[in-house]
Symmetry: C2
DNA sequence: ATTATATGCAAGTCACGACTTGCATGTCAA
DNA sequence: TTGACATGCAAGTCGTGACTTGCATATAAT
């Protein structure tokens, strides 16, 4: 799976991006705890780890290893490709409501 | 299915949005022909119709009925919610590369 | 060295979405 | 009306992704 849109399709992965937006640079354990608490998601550590792998494979998350901990950082730049692909207009030329 | 991100997850639906970006206001038959020709997708009419239903349910496509024809229009405004949710920064504050 | 901590890998189950097939509905022209 | 055209509805198959379970690896502390 190396598709930006499929990566965004899973609610758990969007919650991970939300969590990293609130506080960047969290470890896997921190993300597990916070996802369970704040977002009400009851996922196993492995499930969250797999989601982070997907996010990293599409460039939405970068990681940094320090000792036995792995820190995760959000990178929103891939999202720009969405707007470049389907420009947001002011709805004048796209509908024919006359 | 009424989820913006799941709607964007299917390549066929993204191709439909591409096609409507190129030429807005196409009918189901026109979209079937053009998807097969230009995008190389061999999908049945019903499959494309179902994809259009999904796009309409999340507000990415609006429709207009005229007689026995149904015209489809793209509406990119729902995409704005993506950027509002995860703001695109200039990568200064999101990484800790010091 | 031993133990606890933090993460990684692999195989397996299972549900949901993508797609098809078949038939039905509605509109326009002869 | 009849027939052709454009679309809609419903049920069924099938593959893939989400999640789990179990074990393995690597780092830090005692």
């Amino acid at each position: 799976m190396n598709d930006l849109f499929e990566a965004l399709a899973a609610p758990a992965r969007r919650a991970l991006l939300d969590e990293l937006t609130q506080q960047n640079g969290q470890t896997l354990f921190e993300l597990c705890a916070r996802l369970t608490m704040k977002h009400g998601l009851g996922l196993s550590r492995q499930a969250i780890s797999q989601h982070l792998d997907v996010l990293e494979s599409v460039g939405l998350v970068t990681t940094e290893r320090k000792g036995r901990c792995k820190f995760h950082y959000i990178d929103t730049r891939p999202l720009m490709s969405i707007l470049e692909r389907w420009p947001i207009t002011n709805r004048e030329e796209q509908t024919s409501e006359d």
